[in-house]
Point group: C2
Chain length 201, copies 2
């Protein structure tokens, strides 16, 4: 009965839209004032809603942060999955996965800074580590596919997958802080070559 | 005139000792309560001094954090310099530098966590980046010495030096968070091999 489900689903779309607007406003405020110094009032003002209304959508600024990370990681993962599935062979799949991770955060500087700071605090460390593990597992899958197809000899790719994530993060961080004049593509090329050399390719 | 300088120098030693006691107590409190939630009273209580006395030694908790990092980094740098100068050849010098960086923070978990969180906040990012740059430059010096001695062909070792630091940090972080069962030595071996392979050695 579409006439019954329609209002409820359009309400859900509206709620979702409103939540995304609040998230975007909040991330900007966190970037400007710092996470610790931001109060619910600041977020409500930036999102042009009443403080009471804000609490209908989010329990706390911790909740806002965690939800923003979940949304962004969801986007990142589907981008990575799409590009990796389009590429063929270990080198190209790896190149796709690394290149996206080096470009994705350029447009989301404020959120990435939060991930690097707030994300390592006690309250959020578990979520951050889950995020890292998903990234690790997606790299590992590329290597394991390479073994299955006979392109790579069997081996343990666990440490290398972590090392790739570590190097990507360092490059992203230095770019954010203006400590490098290298392009994301140059960074990607270095990381891919280092990984392939480590595999003896 | 040693009779004049003596009281002043012993006073300085006492001040220094007291400062170090306060630092150690503060770092523990930060680890327990979280940096954001720690007040000057908490630090004073842990150091068994009055709050007013605390302010004779440090301006703020930000000051305490920054001083603790300076002390630790000073220690780390002299350790690295000592071990690297004792080793000979690029491989052994690199191994020494990496091994120390993977062991040093094991005993200073609370301070390392602060470096990973508070250290990336706006107020402290500059100090953190200075710390990273010093680490980077000390690795770069090993490669440049290798070129000077003819052990390495001339090249640009900038990116590789950063990549080594990135991998070390990732390993340290996963060990702190209990996400790995690898030993610091296993991590060091992987990073050294990856670096040498990237150099074609």
């Amino acid at each position: 009965m579409p006439s019954v489900s329609k209002p409820s689903s359009s309400r859900r779309v509206l709620t979702d839209l409103r939540r995304r607007e609040i998230l975007a406003a909040a991330i900007k405020v966190f970037g400007k004032k710092g996470f610790a110094d931001t109060r619910a009032e600041d977020v409500a003002a930036a999102a042009k809603i009443a403080k009471g209304t804000l609490y209908l959508y989010f329990k706390s600024k911790e909740d806002i942060y965690a939800t923003a990370v979940l949304h962004a990681i969801g986007q990142l993962q589907s981008l990575v999955a799409e590009r990796v599935s389009e590429a063929s062979g270990v080198r190209d799949k790896l190149a796709a996965a690394i290149a996206i991770r080096l470009k994705f955060w350029l447009d989301q500087e404020n959120l990435y800074r939060l991930l690097l700071t707030v994300g390592r605090e006690q309250k959020h460390r578990r979520q951050t580590n889950d995020v890292l593990r998903v990234g690790h597992d997606s790299l590992l899958a590329i290597f394991e596919e390479g073994v299955a197809s006979g392109e790579l000899p069997p081996g343990n790719f666990d440490t290398l997958s972590w090392a790739i994530l570590d190097m990507v993060r360092g490059c992203n961080e230095r770019r954010l802080d203006g400590l490098t004049d290298r392009t994301p593509q140059q960074d990607a090329d270095f990381i891919i070559e280092t990984a392939l050399q480590s595999l003896g390719i």
